[in-house]
Symmetry: C2
Subunit: 257 residues, 2 copies
DNA sequence: TATATTATATCATATATATGAATTTCTACT
DNA sequence: AGTAGAAATTCATATATATGATATAATATA
């Protein structure tokens, strides 16, 4: 079933503009997986025929999804569905820069452990699963320039990744989100992070080679899909003596929609 | 001298698109102060005549500046230059939410102190002034629901705010950025923040009523103008037991330009 | 005077169309 | 086989125009 076989209903008398209706229809195709990450979407002329509108209206709809980050337009080539990748990961999700610099460098990732355990009450609440159901708990160390600064604890529901094993996780050739996307058909579209200052407990101090009770930046990131289904709870413990968490607002402010 | 009297040169043969040239000309008007915060800019028809292009091209240029946050379009009313205000401040610059919630509430600000001192080497470097030149150092306490969580230290160059006094600062009716904007003609357009975990020193522990060496989130924010001239160095010390620093990426990612 | 109606100004949506730029694919030539 | 050039595909820019939606201002009416 190709997208070009689908029937779309654009209500010309609706109070919601046609371009927005088209944007929503295309968005639905994305999360219903009728358009998959990396895939080429139909060209503008085809979309014009499909939706029976003018090309300007199609361009406005596609432009909105491009601005939101779901589509990537390439002149002379076509429009593609965004996919997680080493190149795209970078700016979107990694917020650390070495002291004194503003450059965000790509982190080195080192696997620590992979285990199955029962979800805590809090984890279950966040992941919207029953307390006590199985989750994978994965630890990684992240570093820059051969020095480790970050311990990552990932919690994901086993039910959503039934075939995941330590081997598959360790042997992935790309980013973790790319693994979710390509092997499990789960596409993380938005993240929100909550930051706190804490101090190093025994585990963290050992892994990061810092003193017990050293100041540690604790980041809790929630990764969600198109319809805000929470997939991943990732807690980072960061030793910030040599690196900063960087957050830049480029313009005065910006409502997405 | 009104903007409508100015002469604009749009090169129709340039490789940079006309809409971008117009966007840049309008942006220049903004930072040259020919269009001031809150001001109504010429309507689309006038801009069409001014730049001698079609209305679609004008709309694309204005749309870009709107997306960047510099202009605010209001249907039926006109297009205005963004201004700092209590209502706009909110989402753009205050990143804290009470534990368990995602709502970012408006903080209560309490003045602590205002003094003139010599810039440290680091402050001078950030503010691009000579070490030892005069700066104002201003302390504030910020709270949510009558409880104080944040101490803010503001450093600004005296040379850029020659007439600023403690009285003027304390008696402002609006936000601090609004004061810069309206009384000193200095408009902060972009901020970048660097976060670290530290621990409470004597001053901070006293002001926030926490134990010495408690974990403290330290945020260094640099506020800049249109051309990235650094105006303000603001360091926040945050007691994060009850509040989180929240950072949300709404879509996969987003290049502004 | 207070309120409802009408007119006006301004941005928003939508169509139709033409030309340009970037990329890939095809084709002909050496 | 390899390369250069032409053709085709696709998105980007730009113009012209018509109609709609929204907010304010002006006017008429009770």
């Amino acid at each position: 079933m190709s997208i070009t076989d689908l029937q779309f209903n654009i209500d010309r008398d609706s109070k919601t503009p046609m371009w927005l209706q088209i944007r929503n229809e295309l968005f639905n195709c994305l999360y219903r997986d009728e358009l998959r990450p990396g895939q080429l979407i139909p060209n503008e002329k085809t979309l014009v025929d499909l939706f029976n509108v003018s090309i300007g209206t199609v361009r406005k709809a596609v432009g909105a999804l491009e601005k939101e980050g779901f589509l990537i337009r390439k002149q002379g080539l076509g429009t593609f569905v965004f996919q997680h990748d080493k190149s795209t990961f970078h700016f979107a999700y990694f917020h650390f820069a070495l002291n004194g610099t503003d450059e965000i460098s790509y982190p080195e990732v080192e696997f620590i452990s992979f285990e199955t355990k029962k979800a805590t009450k809090y984890e279950a609440k966040i992941l919207n699963i029953s307390p006590g159901s199985n989750v994978y708990q994965i630890f990684n160390k992240l570093g820059i320039n051969k020095k480790n600064y970050i311990v990552d604890k990932i919690i994901i529901s086993q039910a959503k990744f039934p075939t995941l094993t330590e081997e598959i996780f360790k042997n992935r050739a790309n980013t973790i989100y790319n693994l979710y996307q390509n092997k499990f058909n789960i596409f993380i579209t938005n993240c929100s992070e909550k930051l706190k200052a804490t101090s190093a407990d025994k585990t963290v101090s050992a892994l990061l080679n810092v003193k017990l009770d050293s100041p540690i930046l604790r980041i809790e990131r929630i990764g969600q899909t198109y319809h805000n289904e929470t997939i991943e709870l990732r807690t980072s413990f960061v030793h910030t003596d040599d690196i900063d968490y960087v957050n830049t607002q480029n313009s005065t402010f910006g409502d997405t929609f």
